[in-house]
C-alpha cells in the first residue's frame, strides 16, 4: 500500500534533523496561524499565491532563495563544525549524516538559492527595464515558480522522511546507482531536480542526463552502471556539459546586476557597452566548450587536456574585459558607497581572485594536484559567493525599494556587507591553503595535524558569515519597522538610469500607463536629464486607456501540489499515489486550457489615478531640483 514507506523512514534516533524540522514546522505553523488570525489569508491567496504578475513572481522567487539560503547555510555551519570536531575523532555527525549534509548543501545552494535568486531578480526587473507590461507567458512563469518551490519542498521533506542523497551534489555513478546507493536519498535528489527543472527548463541536457540516471534506477536501464555495457564516464561528461554552462547561467545575470549598480552609483553610463555585450556573448558560446576541465585527471590524453585547458582560459578574456569596463565605469564618476555599490566593489576584488585561481586550475598539470581538493572548493565558492551571491545581494538592496516602496536600512546593510566580506575571506582563504596541503573535499574526519589550524580559521569565517546573515535578517526587520521613514516616494531613489525607475515604487500591476518610447541604452536617463533642463515633464498627460492584464490563476500552485505528490510517491514507490498525482496535474492543465476568460481589464480611471500620482511626485521633484 505505501511502497517502501514505513515508520522507520522517520529518523527517530537522530535528534538534529528532528529538532530542526520541529523548529521549522513550528515556525511555519506560527506564520500560517498569524496570517489567518490577522485575516491576511485571502490577500495572500489572491495577490501572491495565484498571481501571474512578473513582479510578484520575482519577489516570491527571491523570498524562496533567501529562505533556502538559511537552510543551505545551516548545512555549511554543520560541515565546518564537524571538521573542527572530527580532528582525531568522529565529530558529531556520522558519515551517513555528514554525506547527506554536503550533498544537500550543494544541491540547495545551486538549485534553490542561486538559481531562484537570479531568476527572481530577472523576473522582477527585466520587463520593467524593457518598458513592457509582463513576460510572454505569465501563467507558465507562475507554474515555473511553483514547481521550483515544489522541488525545494521535496528536498526539505527528505530531512524527516527518509534521507537525502549521500553522493555529493552531482551524483556520480556508479555510487549513485541502486547497487551502491540503495536508499531513497538519490531519488529525493532526482525528483526534486526533475520537478524544479521541469519548471525552469534549466537546459535540455540537465534534464536528459538526470532523466537517464532516473531510468537506470527505476527501470533497470544501464546507461551509467558498471555492468551491462553502461559507462559512468558518460554521466560525468553529460553532467558537466550542462554543469559548466550552468555556472555562467548563474553568473551572467549577476554581471548584469553589477553593470546596473556600478553605472548608477558612479553616476555614469556603463563603459564600453558594446564590448560588454560582445563579452557576454563570447562567454555564452565558450562556456559550452570547456566542460572537460572538470576531469583532466580521468586519463584523457595530453592533447585533449591541453585543448580544454586553453578553451577554459580563453573565457578569462571576456571576463577580464568586463572587470576593466566596470573599472572604467567608475573612472570620472561620482561614486556613492550605498550597500548595492559596496557589494559590487566587494565583488570586483573577490572575483578577480576567484577567476585567477580558476585559470590556475585550467592549467592541466596544476589541476593534477589540485583537482577535488579544498583548493577547488575555495575556488568555486570564491566565484559563486563573490560573483553570484554578492550580485544577488546587490540586486536585492538595489531593487527592494522598487518592489516595496521603501528602502532597506543602510546601516544594517553596511554591517551585513562587511561581516560577509570579511567572513568570506576568513572562511575560504584557509581552504586554498588546505588544498595545497593535500586535503581533499568531503572528508568526514581527518587526523593530519597540519590541517587542523586552518580548519579552525575556516570555521571562524563561517561564524562571521553567520553574523552577516543575522545582520541581513535584522536589516529586513528594521526596514519593515521603519518603512515610513524609509519610504521612496519618487520611484527613483538612487537617481537611476534605466526604465524601471520611471514608474512608481511599487509599480502598478500594468507597470507603465503608456508604453515608453525607448531610445538609446539609458532611455530613462535621457528623459530625466532633458526634463531637468526644461524643469517640467517631457510629455503632456496622455489620454488614458483601460489596460488588460492576465487574470490570476491557481494553475501554478495546484500543479506544484500534484508534482510534490508525484515526486514523493515515486521516491517511495507508491505507484497508485503517483497515478493520482499525474491525473491531478493533467486536470489542472485541462481546467486552465478551458478557461473562458484569461485577462481582466484595469479601467482607464484607475490607470489615470495611478499615473497622475506618479506624474505629480516627479513634477514636484523637478521643481525641487530646479
Amino acid at each position: 500500500m505505501f511502497g517502501r514507506l514505513t515508520w522507520q523512514a522517520i529518523p527517530w534516533s537522530e535528534p538534529i534533523p528532528l529538532i530542526a524540522a520541529g523548529v521549522v514546522g513550528l515556525g511555519l505553523a506560527a506564520i500560517v496561524a498569524w496570517v489567518f488570525a490577522k485575516g491576511y489569508a485571502p490577500y495572500i491567496w489572491k495577490e501572491w499565491i495565484t498571481s501571474v504578475d512578473h513582479k510578484r513572481i520575482g519577489v516570491m522567487y527571491c523570498l524562496l532563495a533567501l529562505v533556502m539560503l538559511l537552510r543551505g547555510f545551516s548545512d555549511a555551519v554543520m560541515m565546518r563544525s564537524q571538521q573542527v570536531l572530527a580532528f582525531h575523532g568522529g565529530g558529531y555527525l556520522p558519515p551517513d549524516h555528514y554525506n547527506q549534509i554536503f550533498s544537500a548543501h550543494g544541491t540547495i545552494m545551486i538549485f534553490f538559492v542561486a538559481m531562484p535568486f537570479v531568476i527572481g531578480l530577472m523576473n522582477f526587473v527585466v520587463p520593467l527595464q524593457l518598458g513592457i507590461r509582463d513576460v510572454a507567458f505569465p501563467t507558465l512563469n507562475s507554474v515555473s515558480f511553483w514547481l521550483t518551490a515544489a522541488g525545494a519542498l521535496l528536498v526539505n521533506i527528505s530531512l524527516v522522511v527518509g534521507e537525502f542523497a549521500r553522493t555529493g551534489w552531482l551524483p556520480y555513478p556508479p555510487l549513485s546507482e541502486l547497487q551502491y546507493s540503495p536508499g531513497v536519498g538519490v531519488d529525493y535528489y532526482l525528483w526534486s531536480l526533475q520537478i524544479s527543472g521541469a519548471g525552469t527548463l534549466l537546459s535540455g541536457i540537465n534534464l536528459v542526463t538526470t532523466a537517464m540516471l532516473l531510468l537506470d534506477r527505476y527501470l533497470g536501464f544501464h546507461f551509467f552502471t558498471n555492468e551491462m555495457g553502461g559507462n559512468p564516464m558518460m554521466f560525468v561528461n553529460l553532467i558537466w556539459v550542462w554543469g559548466h554552462p550552468e555556472v555562467y547561467i548563474l553568473v551572467l545575470p549577476a554581471f548584469g546586476v553589477f553593470s546596473e549598480v556600478i553605472s548608477t552609483f558612479s553616476g555614469k553610463p556603463l563603459f564600453g557597452y558594446r564590448s560588454m555585450v560582445a563579452a557576454t556573448m563570447a562567454i555564452c558560446v565558450l562556456s559550452w566548450l570547456v566542460w572537460l576541465h572538470h576531469f583532466f585527471t580521468m586519463g584523457a590524453g595530453a592533447d585533449v587536456n591541453g585543448f580544454f585547458g586553453i578553451m577554459t582560459m580563453i573565457i578569462a578574456v571576456p571576463t577580464g574585459v568586463k572587470v576593466y569596463n566596470w573599472l572604467f565605469t567608475m573612472y570620472g564618476g561620482k561614486v556613492r558607497f550605498e550597500p548595492p555599490m559596496l557589494w559590487s566593489i566587494g565583488f570586483m576584488v573577490t572575483f578577480v581572485i576567484g577567476g585567477m585561481t580558476g585559470v590556475l586550475m585550467a592549467v592541466p598539470p596544476a589541476d593534477f594536484v589540485l583537482h577535488n581538493s579544498l583548493f577547488l572548493v575555495a575556488h568555486f565558492h570564491n566565484v559563486i559567493i563573490g560573483g553570484v551571491l554578492f550580485g544577488a545581494f546587490a540586486g536585492y538592496n538595489y531593487w527592494f525599494p522598487k518592489a516595496f516602496g521603501f528602502r532597506l536600512d543602510e546601516k544594517w546593510g553596511r554591517r551585513a556587507f562587511w561581516l560577509w566580506f570579511v567572513g568570506f575571506y576568513t572562511a575560504f582563504m584557509p581552504l586554498y591553503v588546505l588544498g595545497l596541503l593535500g586535503m581533499t573535499r568531503r572528508m568526514q574526519h581527518f587526523d593530519r595535524p597540519e590541517w587542523y589550524p586552518w580548519v579552525l580559521v575556516a570555521a571562524a569565517g563561517a561564524g562571521l558569515i553567520t553574523l552577516g546573515i543575522c545582520a541581513q535578517v535584522i536589516q529586513l526587520a528594521v526596514s519593515i519597522r521603519d518603512r515610513a521613514l524609509l519610504r521612496d516616494i519618487t520611484g527613483d531613489p538612487w537617481d537611476g538610469r534605466t526604465l524601471e525607475w520611471a514608474t512608481a515604487s511599487p509599480p502598478p500591476a500594468f507597470n507603465f500607463a503608456v508604453m515608453p518610447n525607448v531610445k538609446g541604452e539609458e532611455p530613462y536617463w535621457g528623459m530625466k536629464t532633458k526634463a531637468r533642463e526644461l524643469a517640467h515633464l517631457l510629455t503632456a498627460e496622455p489620454s488614458y486607456q483601460p489596460i488588460s492584464v492576465p487574470r490570476n490563476t491557481a494553475t501554478g500552485v495546484v500543479t506544484a501540489f500534484f508534482a510534490v505528490v508525484i515526486g514523493f510517491a515515486m521516491i517511495w514507490r507508491i505507484y497508485w499515489l503517483a497515478g493520482i498525482g499525474f491525473i491531478g496535474v493533467y486536470a489542472a492543465f485541462v481546467v486552465f486550457a478551458w478557461r473562458d476568460r484569461s485577462e481582466e481589464e484595469i479601467p482607464a480611471a484607475e490607470v489615470a489615478r495611478r499615473d497622475r500620482e506618479n506624474r505629480l511626485v516627479r513634477t514636484s521633484a523637478l521643481a525641487k531640483g530646479a
Binding site: 558519515p95 536508499g183 574585459v321
Partner: protein
C-alpha cells in the same frame, strides 16, 4: 605546525594578553608549515614540475590581478562623490584605445598561459613514461570499498593500504576500481588520477626522497571515504627487496575468493600483505571477470540505511 603548538600559542596569548603578537606568530608558523607539506613540498620530478607550473602560472596572473585589484580600490576611493579634487566626466563611456587595451591585456596573459598549459599538459601527461635509466616498477592499484589494493605483478605480491616503492626508480601505475569511482593521490609525489570500474588508467611517478608520504582518495566514494588513506613508504633498494621478501613470506594468498572478500565494504585501516597473487588478477578486475564490489551488505539493505 602541530596542533599542540598552535594550542600553546593560543594559551600563551591568553596568559600574557599578547594576542596580536600571538596571531603574527601563528601566521608565520602556518605559512612555513604550509610549505613543508602538501603539493608545495614535492619529493619527485612529477610533483616538482607541477609545483613549478603552478607557481609560474600564479606569478603571471598576479602581475595582472594585483594591479587590477588595487586600481579597483583606488578608483572607487578617489572618485568618491565627496572628493572635489577628482575628475568628473559623467558622459565618458567609450575610448577606442582603452577598448583595445582591455581586450589585449587578458588576451596576452591567456596566450602566455595557454602555452604553459599546452606544453605542461604534454610534458606532465600522467600516461607518459618518465625518463630514467632504471626499469620502471609495475604497480597495479585497485580501489576497493573503502581500501586500497596494491598488486606488484612482477613480484607476485600484493598489499592492502600500504604502498611501498623504491627510491629513485620510476613506477608505472595501472589503476582501476572494484566498484565506485575513487582518485589515487599521493600529494607530495605528484599527479592524481581516477580509479574507475571497467577501465584502467595509467600514471607514472618517481619518488626522489626516502620517507613516508600520506596518500588518499580524492574522489568521494561513500561512507568509508574519509578512511581511504594509506601510507606510501619510499624505501632504499635494499628496503624494497626486504619488503618483497617479507610479503612473499605472508601466509595470505590473493586468489579470486580472497579478492571477492576484499571487495566487500570495509573501513578497516589494517595493512595486509599477500603472497602468491593469481596471474592476471588486475586484468580480470578491469574486464569484470571478477565481478564489481557488491556495495552495501544485504543486512544494511533495509530501505533506510540509517
Amino acid at each position: 605546525m602541530s596542533a599542540q603548538r598552535f594550542r600553546r600559542i593560543v594559551q600563551l596569548s591568553r596568559l600574557k594578553r599578547l594576542t596580536p603578537i600571538a596571531l603574527c606568530l601563528c601566521a608565520i608558523e602556518l605559512t612555513t608549515s604550509g610549505c613543508s607539506q602538501g603539493v608545495l613540498a614535492p619529493v619527485g620530478p612529477v610533483a616538482d614540475g607541477e609545483r613549478l607550473i603552478l607557481l609560474d602560472a600564479l606569478g603571471i596572473m598576479l602581475l595582472i590581478a594585483v594591479p587590477t585589484i588595487l586600481a579597483t580600490l583606488w578608483f572607487a576611493w578617489w572618485f568618491r562623490a565627496s572628493n572635489r579634487a577628482a575628475l568628473y566626466r559623467p558622459d565618458w563611456a567609450y575610448s577606442d584605445k582603452l577598448e583595445v587595451l582591455v581586450w589585449a591585456i587578458p588576451a596576452l596573459v591567456v596566450l602566455f598561459l595557454g602555452g604553459v598549459a599546452w606544453i605542461g599538459s604534454h610534458q606532465l601527461d600522467p600516461a607518459r613514461p618518465l625518463e630514467s635509466s632504471v626499469r620502471p616498477l609495475e604497480v597495479q592499484v585497485v580501489s576497493l570499498d573503502w581500501r586500497w589494493l596494491f598488486i606488484y605483478p612482477e613480484q607476485h605480491i600484493a598489499t592492502i593500504n600500504r604502498l611501498v616503492i623504491p627510491v629513485g626508480a620510476p613506477v608505472h601505475f595501472r589503476i582501476t576500481s572494484s566498484s565506485v569511482m575513487n582518485v589515487f593521490f599521493v600529494p607530495r609525489i605528484g599527479s592524481e588520477i581516477y580509479a574507475m570500474n571497467g577501465m584502467a588508467t595509467q600514471l607514472n611517478l618517481l619518488a626522489r626522497d626516502i620517507g613516508q608520504f600520506p596518500g588518499l582518495s580524492a574522489q568521494f566514494s561513500g561512507d568509508g571515504f574519509s578512511d581511504m588513506t594509506f601510507n606510501t613508504d619510499v624505501v632504499s633498494e635494499k628496503g624494497f627487496h626486504d619488503f618483497v621478501v617479507g610479503a612473499g613470506a605472508s601466509p595470505n594468498r590473493l586468489d579470486a575468493a580472497a579478492y571477492l572478500s576484499l571487495s566487500r565494504q570495509s573501513r578497516s585501516a589494517e595493512v595486509k600483505l599477500f603472497s602468491k597473487v593469481a596471474n592476471g588478477m588486475f586484468d580480470d578486475i578491469v574486464s569484470r571477470h571478477l565481478p564489481p564490489g557488491s556495495g552495501p551488505e544485504p543486512s544494511a539493505l533495509s530501505i533506510l540505511p540509517r
